[in-house]
């Protein structure tokens, strides 16, 4: 069970061993998740064409928006369920699950109807032109129709993890990734369905993964068995879910907004293909960032417990180790992005113009990548020792507070380079802020050890 009987081994076993134990499964899950997105881009780029990649990238903000609603329900639900399971309160946990499914269906359906109704103006707002609109629309229509499946699939995955089946949740993701990889070429090359084929493959893969997940929810002997009586709407549960889910919802909403700014900045300064270039750069850089997030998930319980037990040396140890590992990951990304960008981009496209734009974009975007790893770890470190506000502030600096002014101001002077530049610029500024905050924290711990337990949780 997720958080039952905090293992005191967290306070005694070697840090390196603990970090490996907690981080590796998370890293696998995260990598699978980012490969999932990457596969679609690769097949669309190779099988449909360069403008199709732009069409796909235009749908990113809309995907973020859908993801925002997904996390509104999913995050709150898995938190509540893990609290209930920790108390062995299976009846309420199942009722939470029932309410989650109701919410997923209602929100998913409303989202689909509203977005399908206004698909063209919405996509234009997110950066579509008359050239890229057909691709973006074709892809998004299918994704929107399958939106409910996506919500339920992701929601159940979060619940599986909370219910103490992290492996099952990982396997569901892997099933979806593998199926998507197999179905993409089938629908694109064999059935000639173009970008629609990629969308159909995505949804179909999720439907099958969902069916596989259901075997954990339909057997009578499972703790979280779905039966008719759990579908009783409870206002308290729903308001609990929404309250917890509100902050990840807003974070996703913010990133929807930011990607919209990026897309439009690129379109206005570099044309449709520049958006496609961002699609490629984004997929590649994301792979490395997701690995870092996996590392963070591994660090969280170790730092959290040892901080609580006031074993500050161990807290600092796991922090240092995670920063080093994250820096190795992002530095690898940096080396690949700076020295072999053409090789990587070739995986997605052979179009000369798109290649050139992507290579340039990748070089600029990833130029400060070695320091990004530490920034993300620091933001998460504050979270794991219970200082959530600092943590939220720090991730907002990188993804929002410094990025938005950059995206508005820099293109005025540097054109398309300005759009690309705003990303490393905001990374850099965020990194400086985080470093200052973490040093101040450690200095305070050293000078006033008594302040540790009085930390504002």
């Amino acid at each position: 069970m997720a958080n039952q009987n905090i293992p005191t081994a967290l306070g005694t076993e070697p840090i390196g061993k603990l970090l490996r134990k907690y981080a590796i499964p998370a890293i696998i899950a995260m990598t699978a998740q980012s490969l999932y997105n990457m596969v679609d881009s690769i097949f669309i780029g190779q099988g449909v064409g360069p403008l199709a990649i732009s069409g796909l990238a235009i749908t990113f903000p809309l995907m973020n928006l859908a993801g925002a609603f997904g996390s509104l329900v999913g995050v709150g639900a898995s938190t509540l369920i893990s609290v209930k399971l920790g108390q062995k309160d299976y009846a309420t946990a199942r009722q939470v699950l029932g309410n989650v499914l109701i919410l997923n269906v209602v929100i998913g359906l409303l989202f689909t109807l509203v977005m399908l109704g206004f698909i063209e103006p919405v996509l234009t707002f997110f950066g579509a032109s008359s050239e890229t609109m057909p691709y973006a629309r074709d892809y998004m229509e299918i994704i929107l129709i399958g939106n409910m499946v996506t919500h339920i699939y992701l929601g159940l995955n979060a619940v599986l993890r909370a219910a103490g089946h992290p492996t099952a949740s990982m396997n569901a993701t892997i099933i979806a990734v593998v199926l998507n990889t197999l179905l993409d070429p089938l629908f694109i090359y064999v059935f000639h369905l173009g970008i629609r084929g990629a969308a159909i493959a995505t949804i179909l893969a999720q439907i099958i993964a969902l069916l596989w997940q259901l075997k954990f929810f339909t057997k009578g002997n499972q703790l979280l068995c779905i039966t008719r009586d759990i579908f009783r709407v409870s206002r308290r549960i729903i308001s609990g879910i929404i309250k917890i889910g509100m902050s990840p919802f807003l974070m996703n909403l913010a990133s929807c907004f930011v990607v919209t700014l990026i897309n439009n900045g690129l379109k206005n300064n570099g044309g449709d293909l520049a958006i496609g270039a961002f699609g490629i750069v984004n997929r590649v850089s994301f792979l490395f960032l997701m690995i870092v997030m996996g590392l963070n998930q591994g660090m969280q319980p170790i730092a959290g417990y040892n901080f609580g037990a006031m074993k500050i040396d161990r807290v600092k140890h796991v922090f240092r180790l995670t920063v080093v590992a994250a820096t190795i990951v992002t530095t690898t990304g940096f080396i690949i992005g700076e020295f072999t960008p053409r090789l990587i981009t070739r995986i997605f496209t052979n179009d000369a113009e798109l290649l050139q734009l992507s290579v340039y974009g990748m070089r600029v975007v990833m130029c400060v990548f070695p320091i990004v790893g530490a920034q993300i770890v620091i933001a998460n470190f504050f979270q794991s020792i219970g200082m959530a506000q600092k943590s939220i502030f720090l991730s907002l600096t990188r993804q929002l507070l410094f990025l938005i002014p950059g995206l508005i101001i820099l293109p005025q002077f540097f054109g398309i380079t300005g759009v690309w530049m705003s990303m490393p610029a905001s990374d850099m500024a965020a990194c400086i802020i985080s470093t200052i905050m973490i040093i101040r924290l450690f200095v305070k711990w050293k000078r006033h050890p008594e302040s540790i337990a009085q930390a504002q949780l």
Binding site: Q33, S78, S82, V83, G86, R161, P248, G308, A388
Partner: protein
């Protein structure tokens, strides 16, 4: 025999609990529960004190937007960070360990919910008339009446949020408990005595079975 006592602020619930424990010759767990939880988990007691009976450990943002903040790090849950959920989990494990080991009285901390599976548990809710609560708080904390009233409202709101969040039931609602008593009726001593009578009767009945 386990007795859980939920109480409004200033109702004298804790004194009733302590007296009752004396009368029955068992221990009463209030703040000392936190020390026990700290000892069992290895986590410093101060952290338990900070989150004590708070569902939300970010007073400022939580108060403003009514939101809790499990930050989106991809994992979706923060169940393993040092947060209110984790500390509550440890505290409830401690309550169950104590209840398995000895007869005891638990004050607050969702104990009635945590021990809901037990058949030998008497769930009590204690409250009092508003002016009695104010008087008691004025005496205990050396504040004026106005401050006391504000403090009472704030604390009760906090306790109810804490209870409702973790139990998904309603704090202070009669059907949540076995018995609800107004201490303004008989006073602390007599209330404790009547509860002791009730507890002994229940225990006798349990032994007969």
């Amino acid at each position: 025999m386990i007795i859980t006592i939920a109480r409004t602020f200033g109702s004298g619930g804790r004194q009733v609990g302590e007296l009752l424990a004396q009368k029955l010759g068992i221990s009463c767990y209030d703040h000392n529960l936190l020390s026990e939880a700290a000892r069992q988990s290895g986590i410093n007691e101060d952290f338990f004190r900070r989150m004590d009976e708070h569902a939300n450990n970010h007073p400022i943002t939580g108060g403003l937007f009514g939101m809790r903040f499990p930050f989106l790090s991809g994992s979706g849950t923060t169940d393993q960070s040092l947060d209110a959920n984790t500390l509550f989990q440890i505290q409830s494990d401690t309550i169950r360990t104590i209840a398995d080991r000895e007869e005891a009285i638990f004050i607050g901390r969702c104990a009635d919910y945590v021990l809901r599976e037990r058949t030998d548990c008497l769930k009590v809710f204690i409250f009092a008339n508003a002016d009695d609560c104010v008087k008691r708080v004025v005496n205990r904390l050396q504040v004026d009446e106005e401050q006391a009233a504000i403090l009472i409202e704030k604390t009760n709101k906090q306790r109810s949020k804490f209870y409702n969040y973790f139990s998904s039931k309603t704090w202070g609602k009669a059907s949540t408990y076995d018995i609800a008593v107004n201490t303004s009726l008989l006073g602390i001593e007599a209330t404790a005595e009547s509860l002791a009578v009730l507890a002994r009767q229940l225990k006798a009945k349990a032994i007969q079975r």
